[in-house]
Amino acid sequence: MTSAPAVHISGLHKTVHVGFRRRAVQILKGVDLRVEDGAVFGLLGPNGAGKTTTVKVALGLMRPTSGSVELGVPGLSHVGYLPENPYFYDYLSGREFLGFCGQLFGLDADVRRERVRALLGDVGLEAAADTHLRKYSKGMLQRIGIAQALVNDPELVLLDEPMTGLDPVGRVEVKRIIESLHERGKTVLFNSHILSDVNELCSQIAIMREGRVVWHGSVDDALEDAPTLEDFFMKVVTA
């Protein structure tokens, strides 16, 4: 018997209306996805495939037109999320921002302080902890974004392009964080265009194209079909 999935999406459709004439654009055309509990899952696809929209619907930032999303956690207090190209409050320091996020999860002051201190160390921002975020580089914002996604010690972590803007050192650190989350039994779902990272970190992947999941399986299965994950990806998205 299999355990309950961490994310179960079935028949998900999303249509938005754009422009003056409210033209209907179908972003998601029946997404089916199952992410097992404790997995590191890579959601891949070319730009505009619907990866970010799928995640946003899963989080309730957008409403589905039809279909369903079930998270295997009791609520958003058990979920961590890093948006794509994150932008945070300029006038707060890194420490204040993480403290604010901890408050939103209702963490007690002592727990919050300790969690913030540890996370600043994990993402290598101890020295910049009291610097205002407007002075952070893109890579530093990405790191603080990852830290805010983990401030509640979530069971399910959704990361949208977590490696964007990071230098090689930053990428190694983020990979370590993801590995450590996996070791602690957390479920990680991330979108990425960097297939070498996906190959290194993920056990399962799904490839989206034009609003649908067109392939879903293990990285090993993908590599049986093609010499590299990149080749397999190109084969699937151009098929």
């Binding site: 989080l59 930032l61 948006p83 408050q103 939103l104 209702g106």
Partner: protein, 254 residues
């Protein structure tokens, strides 16, 4: 409640650290000092002119802060996509709107208290007839501006920040005149126009009913019972408008 408090504190930090706010306050203080000149050219009425002009300056600059800061509060979060961070956490739309409003109330209290105390000290030092009524008048300006802030936040959940600012100012101006409009339509004895002006009178609060500036300069006798009732009405109005803003904002997707 913890989320509301966190958002309120964050909004207070955001607005109080805004350099534009500091510039507006400096201008307001310069304007209040400008009342010295007006006082010097009005024979025997120096204190009265300073109070009158100073309270108008407090109202004007308070209104500028109220509408422009309130209009940007929600809009900036959406535009800069910080809402992704907020609403991916257990934060309801109502908690967001309420927290934003309370945070801005704190900033407005600091701004108005600063201007009010400055005016009080200036009148006391120059004309020697400062009364605590100056501070009461500033408090009543604060009550009016609470309603303006709530209305502006409501409009900002539906449209652009500029449109929300303009509509916020319109509501403030209309609220100063709504009582006169009602009185005038009563003279016409037309049931339809009178009913219409009643609707406007309820939808746009009667700000002039809590305006005690005339009382401060001794032009008017103040009916405190009526002022208290109208203040209660304005606070209830704030609650209703914020509830409507939350309802509208709940429908938003990001």
């Amino acid at each position: 409640m913890k989320q509301v408090a966190a958002i309120a504190v964050n909004t207070f930090k955001e607005t109080i650290r805004d350099r534009v706010l500091a510039v507006i306050v400096v201008f307001a203080l310069i304007m209040i000092v400008g009342g010295l000149w007006l006082g010097s050219i009005s024979l025997g009425e120096q204190g009265r002119m300073m109070k009158d002009f100073g309270l108008v300056a407090v109202t004007f600059f308070g209104l500028i802060v109220a509408v422009f800061v309130a209009a940007g509060l929600v809009h900036k979060e959406v535009e800069k996509r910080t809402v992704f961070v907020l609403f991916s956490k257990p934060v309801s739309r109502a908690a967001f709107i309420t927290g934003k409003f309370i945070g801005l109330c704190g900033t407005m209290a600091v701004v108005l208290a600063g201007m009010g105390v400055f005016l009080f000290l200036l009148v006391w030092a120059v004309a020697g007839d400062a009364s605590s009524m100056i501070l009461v008048a500033v408090l009543m300006i604060y009550v009016q501006l609470l309603a303006v802030m709530a209305v502006t936040i409501f409009f900002s959940t539906m449209g652009s920040a500029i449109l929300a600012s303009v509509l916020g100012i319109c509501v403030f101006v209309a609220g100063q005149l709504s009582h006169n409009v009602l009185s005038l339509t009563r003279l016409g004895k037309n049931a339809v126009t009178e009913a219409l002006s009643w609707v406007i009178y309820v939808v746009i609060p009667n700000f002039s009913a809590v305006d005690v500036k005339a009382g401060v300069v001794g032009e008017d006798t103040l009916a405190w019972g009526e002022i208290a009732i109208w203040s209660g009405y304005l606070l209830a109005y704030v609650v209703v408008v914020l509830a409507l803003a939350s309802l509208v904002f709940r429908r938003k997707e990001f």
